[in-house]
Amino acid sequence: MAIPVRKFDAVIVGAGGSGMRASLELAHAGLKVAVLSKVFPTRSHTVAAQGGVGAALGNMGEDSWLWHMYDTIKGSDYLGDQDAIEFMCRMAPEVVIELEHFGMPFDRNENGTIYQRPFGGHSANFGEKPVQRSSCAADRTGHAMLHTLYQRNVLMKTQFFVEWMALDLIRDSEGNVLGVTALEMETGEVVIFHARATLFATGGAGRIYSSSTNAFINTGDGLGMAARAGIPLEDMEFWQFHPTGVAGAGVLITEGVRGEGGYLLNKNGERFMERYAPTMKDLASRDVVSRAMATEIKEGRGVGEHGDHLLLKLDHLGLETIDKRLPGIREIAMKFANVDPVKEPIPVVPTVHYQMGGIPTNYHGEVLTPSGKVPGFYAAGECGCASIHGANRLGTNSLTDLLVMGKSSGQSMVEFLRTAGRHRDLPAGAADASLARINRLDTQTGGEEVHDVRGEMQRTMQAHCGVFRFPDLLTEGVEKIRAVAERAKRTRIKDKSRVFNTARVEALELDNLVEAARATMVSANARQESRGAHDRADFHSRDDVNWLKHSLWYREGDRLDYKPVNLKALTVETFPPKARVY
């Protein structure tokens, strides 16, 4: 069957922060680029980021990119690659200033500079005391950033394909990446986007869990496509539980609340973080705070009828500060928790928030496997793994990552395209796999309901791979997730319409979710240590002798491989692993 082919120099899948930062580089170079997105660009999940973007601008007092680098490495529990981390922290001020020049409405200080607030794990002088490093626009930083990037793309006349879902990565027999197949949701048409360079900027897969701060669209599409194309996924066992999701609703409450002076309480009214992190207290890094909260709940000091959550107190900040710095939080608390934080604390619980792992890349965004670079293939933002965040990401570093890695991927693509020559020929049947997936859904009559299979996956992930991980539950979880992945092959949809068929989109998303879930469970089961967000009941400590290495999961046969952590920074001395105390 002949399907339409559209040719571009580059195709970018995903129009969130990293995709739209990368597209600017390609536009500046005068290249022809297509940006595909399942949703209108300003609806991408970057929009939900609240607290700020980390960069050592030093607007509030002394700061340096080296301190930021140290904090990020320590935050990563030493699993982050130090070259990538140095790169990000050095570049951070530049990309934040650029964004300001693009029009980003940052909050301001009296002297006209960008206002910065304290944030978890960010310190001055190598852990001595909290530092104000998070540049923000109230508690709507992601929204302001995403709109600013979209606006800049409007100026640069970027060509967006809105409400197009990428289906599969196209590779030739030599392994070169030649673009993607994609589905236009409005018409149901499948098209090949034939490109000389392809960037995945598809975000995370937070929807593999049942309770998540993530949007519905966060289904790990880039991970699924990469895994099906034989590319490994790195460090997928590391999932960040954000300490403060609204209990019951999962909606995010920014760490900026604690940055501005809020703190957590247990049922006795005790500020318990003082016991777990004497220096940084409520501003310790997220894995530490989430674990402390889970411990409080487990030991019977949780709040509420079922003792299943804790309280975030901020009324002492006063109406003026709350309305000026945290207006969105007040709105969310009133709508989703029925409390006005000016008067009452917000019920919160650790909630899945961010995927530290992803498609393995270097800090240029080039996809890297043990057999070398994958020609023409790039990944940035949450779907990529450079690895900047290692075993635990610091708050504000996701926005820093997507700006820095979006820009550097865009630049590497421009560089590559200069010498890459013409489009390589598409292999025969380049769209066959995608068409077979669509055709199966169109013709399948009996089978599994998509929401049943997805629900089973989400419950399994939640119960078997949470804040605390137990050997029996992990082993059992692997079997359960494999069974779910089998069931996902037999899903059926009743809706057979070609026009904006959201049932079909959800079934196709499930194909991607199950790959991310399998990668997570299998990698978590294998890692016999506790590091960052991965906490094993049977291996309490970090094990740098055996496990200071990145996991690589391959879809074929659920195979695992490992690669060393890059401890060598670009220009400064290595920060050697040491005990992590906040």
Binding site: A48, E100, G103, A215, H451
Partner: protein
């Protein structure tokens, strides 16, 4: 919970019709979007847009009991049953609750929604005082959900010529920005019987905005600037 939802699939329907649903709600269901997600588990053909489910992405705008709003931040307890749901009025329907927003975004793009400042960028940020920055509050928070423009009779009548409340709010967002140097050009562009002056201060936009923004006020400010400039 009882709902009456307008359905239309151009693949099989000659015209829109209403379908009744009665869905059992779970203990954790609070918002209208929760009810719609429940419906989709029994009828996967119901088409709607949704993403963040916390009122910040702007995907799930629809007409709820006659008033535009976001399904994800509209509380079930506040709704009279049966809840009547229709797509946003005035835009072409693609399917069920999904409308074609091309015209809406074309108007947004028409106001040059980006900062214009041709002076060489300094090494640091362009300074802005807290007071200057405060001018942007109530403007930059727009989520482009289109609740306002599709509640505006002036936009229904002239969607190709009247910028509409959402676009005008953003036009003023850049006029009000101390860093933007294109105020005169922006005012020239809006000094037009249709683009700006079709606003007759009906204020439906203010009434429906799920973020509590006030496009009418911003439009008033633009008109004031035009008057002041003419004197």
């Amino acid at each position: 919970m009882k709902l009456r939802i307008q359905r239309y699939d151009p693949d099989k329907d000659s015209k829109p019709y209403f379908q009744d649903y009665d869905v059992p709600m779970g203990p954790a269901d609070r918002m209208l979007l929760d009810a719609l997600i429940r419906i989709k588990t029994v009828d996967d053909s119901l088409a709607l847009r949704r993403s963040c489910r916390e009122g910040v992405c702007g995907s799930d705008a629809m007409n709820i009991n006659g008033k535009n709003g976001l399904a994800c931040t509209t509380r079930i307890v506040d709704l009279k049953e049966p809840v009547v749901l229709k797509p946003l009025p005035g835009l072409p329907i693609i399917r069920d609750l999904i409308v074609d927003m091309t015209q809406f975004f074309a108007q947004y793009h028409s106001i040059k929604p980006y900062l214009v400042n041709d002076t060489p960028p300094p090494e640091k940020e362009r300074p802005q005082s807290p007071a200057q920055r405060e001018e942007l509050d109530g403007l930059y928070e727009c989520i482009l959900c289109a609740c306002c423009s599709t509640a505006c009779p002036s936009f229904w009548w002239n969607p190709d010529k009247f910028v509409g409340p959402a676009g005008l709010l953003q036009a003023y967002r850049f006029i009000a920005d101390s860093r933007d140097h294109a105020t005169n050009e922006r005012l020239d562009d809006l000094e037009d019987p249709y683009r700006l002056f079709r606003c007759h201060t009906i204020m439906n936009c203010v009434d429906v905005c799920p973020k509590g923004l006030n496009p009418t006020l911003a439009i008033g400010r633009i008109k004031e600037l035009l008057v002041r400039r003419a004197i």
